[in-house]
Structure formats: structure tokens, C-alpha cells
Symmetry: C2
Subunit: 321 residues, 2 copies
């Protein structure tokens, strides 16, 4: 189980490599929401998402003679692992679907990784990764079900606790964009020790609320569909084996928002916070803005900003300041 | 003359009110530029620009029984003064042209200010302001030629010095977006004491390089035109009486960039830093990206993010990641 000690150790390892992202706030955004909203802007993190934390934490915990690392991801985890491996002088192989966005493939290569493309229709990703790992001695870094990945994401929670104290926030719900639950679980463990009056609430896309249902039932529930939301970064089929128990003991009831609410949150983040959010990174802000059953003060993660410009352009046209 | 002591005193007054904005950097942006670029992201400042610093510094230095403050501005200075006055429980009257962007008028009102509109063609702004000031005892806060405004903007320089030390940057050119010169002069005074190996370079739109020419000649030169660049926030006719002497003794030669370069910098800031920049706030980043005659490492201000979404959308369409 991930502990505060593991998160504190990860925080030591990531120091100087990942960024202490700001806790943003905007009076005009608060007015729209009818509550005080603080935004932990992980879209400003190196590589554009919190995944740089978990990537660095995992890579830096490996023996220095590790031949290299391997990850399966079409997006933010790919970039986080590629960047961290390069900085450690370690080879990185990223298995990506051939139809992944060209810009994400190009960025992953730009961070120095070898990208191995596969055909989603005809090839088995796990078998391909297992073969590469065996042949070349590469260590697999999973996107969330890994102790050092969860510990790395948890460093976000330590910063939230510090920044809340600096800002005079003594209690709040902390809304976290949730896919497999690595970021949510890491923050929950960190806050339990560092800010026990804070409570994590996971936020997912409507129809893909496997974590909310799993938290309610106590067992790992699955989504009915694998696609069908613009929030691509957080469409995982089911909670992690490690993340659900951590969250079940610590988080409040899960929340969900519609794709349209995520788009409106992206537009309002642009207008009032001047940051770029991707849909899956904006769901927690959307809940903070549009859900009624929340306290007067909330903190939310804005967890990634690797967005197709056309998608944000459409959101801006639909949502004036 | 603005001194380090005045800036340090301003830093004490603005503490807890304005934000210590992050110093951002992106490996893929560095690759495009061919040099290391650090970005002081004042677009993430409260009210969306560094003008919150000067506004708060000036308002907080007034006697508490001051009836109110007055500013003439169609943009960022208006919002900075309106926000600061409201937080001090002080009335704010902002004289704005009737054809200013509706969103800037609406935001200035949303911060609690009384907006007095005038017709650029038929009314004299200075006479209107003088009458309002006399009738209602309002204190005028100029946009740059004011000691406490310059001292407030100079707090940006203290933060740059601190953050550069934390990051291990021991020498750099510091490129600053320049209109009347308040931000440039404040930063120059702060760095002279706090980071003497750093040198300020002003950056202006091509054709509106009154500061660059004034630095070269030693006297206040004027621009030939009042309009004709998209960089509306920094199209001042001539350097300030206070700012030019401060800069003449401290800054290197001034730089300038084209509107197209400013637009490309806005798009690259979106893609790689995930922040929203306005044209006048992006000129220093444009110089960092596109000028050849600069050192291997530069720091630049990204000084504001209050942009018309359509303008950024066009920039994104023209400049891929």
C-alpha cells in the first residue's frame, strides 16, 4: 500500500525535475460558480500533465543499470515516461496505437523515446509489450497500478496541502480528475496525513463513472463502453487494483460531468485562468463550476493541457467569457 | 527615482494579494528556439496581467481615507486598478473609450469599478478625468509614470531573481514586453541589486519601437503612428519621463518583433507552455524564439493573457505545434 513515507520519498526524488505548479484562483470564475474555486494547474507541469510526476518517480526508483523502460500509452503517460527516462539516460520504448494523434506521437519521439506503433484491430498490445520487455530487458511502467507511480502522483497532494496552508484554506473538498485512480489515490494518501480536514472526490465523465460506482459498491466495477466521450485521457475500463482500496478508505462519493460541461470548463479556464486544459483534465473544474452539492470552497486539479486546438476553439465559440 | 528599497516595500504590500507566478520552461520550445527559454508567466497573475502588481502597489500606498482612485485605460491597467481598489474598499472610476472591447468593459465592472465611457472622436479623455478627479476627490493612478506603480511592477524582477537562483540560472538576458516602460524599468532596478549578472532588454512591436530608439538616443522619441499593430496593450506613444532614465542606465539595446512573430509566439505558448497569451504579452517570447543575436539562455516576461479568442484561434490555425 502507498504510504505517506513513500510519497515523501518520491517528493525528494522529483525535486528540481518536476514543477511546483501554482494554485490558481479567479474572482470572476468564483462568481460564475457561486463558490470559491482553487485550481491546481498541472497543465503547467513539465510535459503538460501530472504524469511527469509518476513517470519521474518510477524511473528514478529503478536500479541505475536498468536497460530501459517500457510504457503503453497514447498520451500523457507516454510523454511523462519518455521525458523522465531521457533525463536519466535510460532507453524508453513506448507502445502506441498507430492511429494515435500525430502530435502526441511526435512529442513522445521528441522527448527521445522509441515509439513502437501497433494496429488496434489486429495486434495485441499486451503481447507486443511482453515480447519487447523480454527481448530487451525493459521494465514496464504501468500508468497507475504501480506503487512508485501512485507515490509520484501523490506529490501533488503534498503541494496542495502546503499551498492551502499558505493561502489560509483550512478545509475543502479536493476534486480530482479520475481515470484509473493513480492521481486521486496518491492525493488522498497525502492529504490524509498532511491535511486531514480535506477530502478527495473523484470526478469522471458521465457514463464512464466506474470509480464512482466502485467506491459505492466496494468492488471494481467496469464501464459499459470503452469509447464515447471526448475525455480520452481518463477513459479507463475499471479502477486499479491498488488505487480502489486506497480511495475506498479515504474518498467521498464520486462525481461525474457531461462532455458539454467539460468543454465549458475548458473555455472558462481559458478566459479566467489563462491556462489550456484538455477535456479529461477539465472534469474536476467542471464539477466545481456546475455541481450544486459541494461546499463553499473547493480545490480541483486541472490535470492536463495536451489538447487538440480545434477542440478548444470549438469550446471557446460555444462559451463566451 | 525608484529604488530597490521602494520595490522591496512594494513586495511587502502586495504579498498575499498578487501571485508569485511560475517561471515556466518547455524542452520542445527550447528545441524550436535553439536556446534555453524561461518564461515568467504574468498571464497567470490575478486579473490576467502584471498590472495587478502596480495597481495594488499604488492603491495600498494611499492614505486609508482617500475617497477613491481614477485610471484611464482600455485594458489591463483598468482591471488591475479596479481589482486593487475594490479589495481596499475604495471607489474606483475607470475612464474607458466607448469602443473598447465589451469583455474588457464587462470585466472592469465585474471587479467593482464604475466605468465612465467617452467618445474618442469628440471628447478629451484627460479633461474628463481631470473634472472627475476634482469633483470627487479621486486620485489618478497613471499606467507607468508613477513611483509606486513602477515599484509594484518591479516586484516581478525580485521574483525572477529568486526563481533564477532556485533554478540555477546565474546569468541571462531578461526580455521584457515594453509599452511605457513601467515593467521594464521596475525589473531593471530590481535586477541591478538582486541579480547584477542579468540584463534587461525591452521588446516592442516593429514600427512602435519608441523605447529602443530612445534608449539609443538618450532622449524620449515618439512613434510615427498611434495604431497599426495587434499588440494593443503596448502601443504607447513615447517612453515615460520616469521610466526612460531608469532604463537608459541599466538596459541593453531594445529589440522588436513583427505582429506575425507575436502571433506565432502565442501559438507556441499555447502548445508547449499551455498558457494563454495576448499579442502585446507575447512579444518578449517572440524575440526569445526568433531573434538570432541573443545569448544561449534568456528569461522573458509573458506579461498578459487578456486576448480575444478569435485572435488566438487564428494564430493556432497558422502555427502548428
Amino acid at each position: 500500500m502507498t504510504t505517506l513515507a513513500a510519497i515523501t520519498a518520491a517528493a525528494e526524488r522529483v525535486r528540481g525535475a518536476v514543477r511546483r505548479t501554482p494554485l490558481l484562483n479567479a474572482p470572476l470564475l468564483d462568481r460564475i460558480a457561486g463558490r470559491r474555486i482553487w485550481v491546481k494547474a498541472e497543465c503547467l507541469q513539465v510535459t503538460g500533465s501530472f504524469k511527469a510526476r509518476g513517470g519521474w518517480s518510477a524511473v528514478s526508483s529503478l536500479p541505475p543499470d536498468t536497460p530501459g523502460v517500457l510504457a503503453m500509452s497514447s498520451g500523457n503517460h507516454a510523454q511523462g515516461v519518455a521525458w523522465a527516462a531521457a533525463a536519466h539516460g535510460m532507453e524508453a520504448v513506448i507502445v502506441m496505437p498507430a492511429d494515435a494523434p500525430q502530435v502526441k506521437i511526435a512529442n513522445t519521439r521528441a522527448y527521445g523515446a522509441e515509439v513502437v506503433l501497433y494496429d488496434r484491430a489486429t495486434e495485441n498490445r499486451e503481447a507486443l509489450a511482453a515480447r519487447l520487455s523480454a527481448e530487451r530487458g525493459l521494465v514496464l511502467i504501468p500508468p497507475y497500478d504501480h506503487p512508485e507511480v501512485i507515490a509520484g502522483q501523490g506529490t501533488t497532494g503534498l503541494e496542495i496541502a502546503e499551498q492551502a496552508a499558505e493561502t489560509g484554506i483550512d478545509a475543502a473538498d479536493v476534486l480530482v480528475c479520475c481515470g484509473g485512480g493513480g492521481l486521486s489515490a496518491g492525493i488522498a494518501v497525502a492529504l490524509e496525513a498532511a491535511a486531514p480536514t480535506f477530502r478527495v472526490r473523484t470526478v469522471e465523465p458521465s457514463g464512464f463513472d466506474d470509480m464512482a460506482r466502485s467506491l459505492a459498491s466496494g468492488t471494481r466495477m467496469r464501464n459499459n463502453a470503452a469509447t464515447g466521450s471526448i475525455c480520452d485521457a481518463i477513459l479507463t475500463p475499471t479502477p486499479g487494483q491498488m488505487t480502489l482500496p486506497l480511495l475506498h478508505d479515504r474518498a467521498g462519493p464520486g462525481l461525474s460531468v457531461s462532455d458539454d460541461e467539460a468543454l465549458r470548463a475548458m473555455a472558462l479556464a481559458f478566459h479566467h485562468l489563462r491556462v489550456v486544459a484538455e477535456p479529461g483534465g477539465a472534469v474536476a473544474l467542471a464539477a466545481a463550476l456546475f455541481r450544486d452539492d459541494l461546499p463553499d470552497q473547493v480545490i480541483c486539479t486541472l490535470s492536463g493541457g495536451n489538447v487538440d486546438p480545434a477542440l478548444l476553439t470549438g469550446a471557446l465559440a460555444a462559451t463566451p467569457a
